[in-house]
């Protein structure tokens, strides 16, 4: 069994799975249950000036038979008194000294407030701090959360204040509600942040009730824009995460990856793209803490299979595989191939190629089963048929190079090579 022990910013935890700052980490009773279940650490739900929350708070989108493909919330930071939170944090740390305890913070945007909050929380005891610069709803109206995280100069200023007094490692949590996270990351790095956590939730409106015309979630006849998370946001998170790994200035800064991590596979992907560990929330909000078992067992088995002994062995391995489009090899060419023994004749490859791609799959009528075959000369190797095919490995994409050498767009243009004729 591979060892899942992970250290991020010097903070040790028995596995790379932390619970993100959110309702599952807002009080002792939950966090104790999480640690009993086996979670490696928590980021305690954001502390700051006590707030008041509304009812209802969440809305979800479903896809097919899956509920909560994406979740949105309009809940604010912790609505419990600060001293109760601090007392419970101490109690939890005493009971589970081997688990990571990071506390999320959000103070009013002035130096004194941040100094007071940081000192009070770190004096109380914790392994690290996470600055909530990401919350996209509610708190932004008060000049906090994403209002800080969307402006590099404000973000930089706040991190400077924090670093003036911080004695434990500081993670800056980045908002995805920007065209790129890199400028904010660079600015906060200059201000001294020790690491990043990303992404926070994405601004969203979840939908509308077709009978009442009320958008979700309904708070007595009105709603407000909320923060979107869950499996649906994972690709967005992975992209933002990767951009930090690709930029020289931020490439070596530790990152805690967040955004739709539901299975160990998701976690491995985040780590291959540069996250030192991951934080999970929506999956727990849907299934409870018990999912930690498969997160650990799946990752451990995968590491054994690949020969990795430590979780740090594979962090960032996939980043070099991401490049600019103009660097991609135009001579690389694949074409679809249908394994007729595996084909179940659903026709999805044909109709999608016919209507949405390059008319490269022919149909020979049969009763009741048609036969579908690839017209190699028409196939552009787009993957669409393979993606919609319900049978694994029925459609494969064997390589049919157009030329031996690597030929990118820049070189293609330089040589004045001909474009497609039709």
């Amino acid at each position: 069994m591979a060892n899942l022990h992970t250290t991020l910013l010097g903070i040790s935890s028995p596995n790379p799975f932390w619970l993100a700052s959110a309702p599952p980490t807002d009080k002792k009773i939950n966090v104790l249950r999480a640690f009993e279940a086996g979670w490696g650490g928590v980021v305690w739900k954001t502390l700051g000036d006590q707030v008041k929350n509304v009812s209802s708070r969440y809305a979800a989108i479903n896809y097919g038979n899956q509920r909560v493909m994406g979740l949105n919330n309009i809940e604010l930071i912790s609505d419990r008194p600060l001293d109760i939170n601090l007392k419970e944090i101490r109690e939890v740390m005493n009971e589970f000294p081997d688990r990571a305890m990071v506390v999320s913070l959000m103070a009013n945007t002035n130096r004194q407030s941040w100094h007071d909050l940081v000192k009070r929380v770190q004096d109380n005891g914790c392994h690290g701090l996470e600055l909530n610069f990401g919350c996209p709803h509610g708190m932004t109206e008060r000049g906090m959360g994403a209002a800080v995280g969307q402006d590099p100069s404000i973000a930089k200023m706040v991190v400077e204040w924090v670093m003036e007094v911080a004695e434990v490692p500081v993670l800056t949590k980045l908002t995805p509600n920007v065209h790129s996270v890199v400028p904010i990351a660079k600015a906060t790095l200059e201000a001294g942040t020790n690491g990043f956590a990303l992404i926070n939730t994405i601004q969203s409106l979840m939908g509308v009730d077709l009978d009442t015309f009320l958008p979700y979630p309904d708070v007595g006849g009105h709603t407000a824009f909320g923060g979107y998370c869950g499996p649906a946001v994972k690709p967005i998170a992975l992209k933002m995460l990767t951009t930090l790994g690709m930029d020289e200035a931020t490439a070596n800064t530790p990152i805690s990856g967040i955004g739709g991590v539901t299975t160990w596979r998701d976690a491995v992907e985040f780590m291959l793209l540069g996250a030192g560990n991951v934080q999970v929330c929506t999956a727990v909000m849907k299934y409870g803490f018990r999912i930690i078992n498969d997160l650990c067992s799946g990752m451990s088995n995968w590491m054994d299979e690949k020969g990795f002994t430590s979780t740090s062995d594979f962090v960032g391995l996939s980043i070099p595989k991401v490049t600019d489009w103009e660097e991609l090899d135009l001579n690389f060419h694949i074409v679809a191939n249908i394994n007729q023994d595996k084909c179940i004749h659903c026709g999805l490859c044909h109709i999608t190629c016919e209507d949405a791609s390059h008319q490269a799959i022919s149909l020979e009528k049969g009763n009741p089963y048609n036969t579908y075959t690839i017209k190699e000369e028409e196939c552009v190797g787009c993957n669409l048929c393979k993606l919609v095919c319900p049978v694994s490995d029925c459609i494969t994409m064997p390589e049919r190079r157009k030329g031996a050498e690597h030929l990118n767009w820049k070189e293609f243009q330089r040589r004045g090579l001909p474009l497609n004729e039709h």
Partner: protein, 448 residues
Amino acid sequence: MSLESQRLAPEEYKRNFADLHPPFELFDTASIEANRCLYCYDAPCTKSCPTSIDVPQFIKQISTGNIKGSAETIFSSNIMGGGCAKVCPVEKLCEGACVYNLLHEKPIEIAKLQRFSTEQAIKEQWKIFERKPSNGKRVAVVGAGPAGLACAHALSLEGVDVTIFEKEAKGGGLMTYGVAAYKVTPEFCEEEVDWILSVGGITVQYNTEIGITTTLQDLQRDYDAVFVGIGVGVARHLGIPGEELDGVVDAIKFIYDIRTKDYSEIPVGDRIAVIGMGMTAIDAATQSKRLGAKEVVMVYRRDELEKSCTDTELDIAKLDGCSFVWLAAPKEILGESGKARALVCDVVRLADEADASGKRAIVPTGEMITIEADMIIRAAGQIPFEEFVKTAQIQNNTGRISTNGLQSTNLKGVFAGGDCVNGGKEVVDAVQHGKDAAKGILEYLHSK
């Protein structure tokens, strides 16, 4: 040993004749199944439906919560899509062709989903179709069975005024009178007919048998065109000694009685032999068991591979505790004081090779078996209404009406479809005949 009614307590009848395939009770559960559908293109299920219902489309519509649209998709192809969802042998039609079978996975429950949409439409009598204003054309339809109703509905939509002549007191034909009660209830059949007729433009004259006071010639004279959808008649006689004995009954009559009377009024024997292995034979065997018969034996002169019912149907009979004697050809019915007491059969085998008819010949082995039975149900095929066909001088093949393109007969303006043409197939086949005939009739009326 004698035939007795009232063998069971009321609650036992109720349990025995409860819905064989309970419906989805919640949208949520229907939606789970609907979402399992792959939404195949040029779908095998649709191609395997005699009425070509766009199955992926109606299932997709269930998944989006568009139940009315889903019902419309079904009914546009098959106006008896509600009843068919309950009685179709889907294992050899749509569900049998579902691509999941090729993955050795459970096929989509198409019938159950179809029932989900259509049952709501029928129960709540949704207005789905709007007929064109009356165009003054008048068509007579003989028989308010699936073929006749499908033809009448399609004609009415186009503005034709239709009069249906039905010899029974209710419409629906085989659906109402000839199918096992645990598949479709009399109440549902009535609601379904009401719903079909609610489109307007169709008048039904019940208890009116053509050929008695009104003839086909009269209809030809009084109407612009005629559709004949009279189905088939009683069960074929076996032509063996003892068939006149008390306790020897016709499966069609037996099922008709079950469908029209209270279960407690239907007499059954202690030991029943059912002759035949088609759907009707299964319906007779299972229902006699459900009426309280102690033992039911199904007797067939071919082997299990050559049975005409589906495996699913055979399983119903097996689960009901029926037993089976294969390769036994009825030879004689023995009686005592005018009552049947046993069925004697030749033990036969099948020839190794198929003969010119495409079937393997039945060869007696010389051995015989005697099956004790106080009730013997004939269910070895039905006889066409030969008398009617001959009197009306419709071209036919041993009583089955011969048709050309779009169900036209040799008589000008007379069309035919359903069991009276195909000799007795599924409800869904009859519906397609009715649709085709309506098309033929509209063309004919146009060219007149």
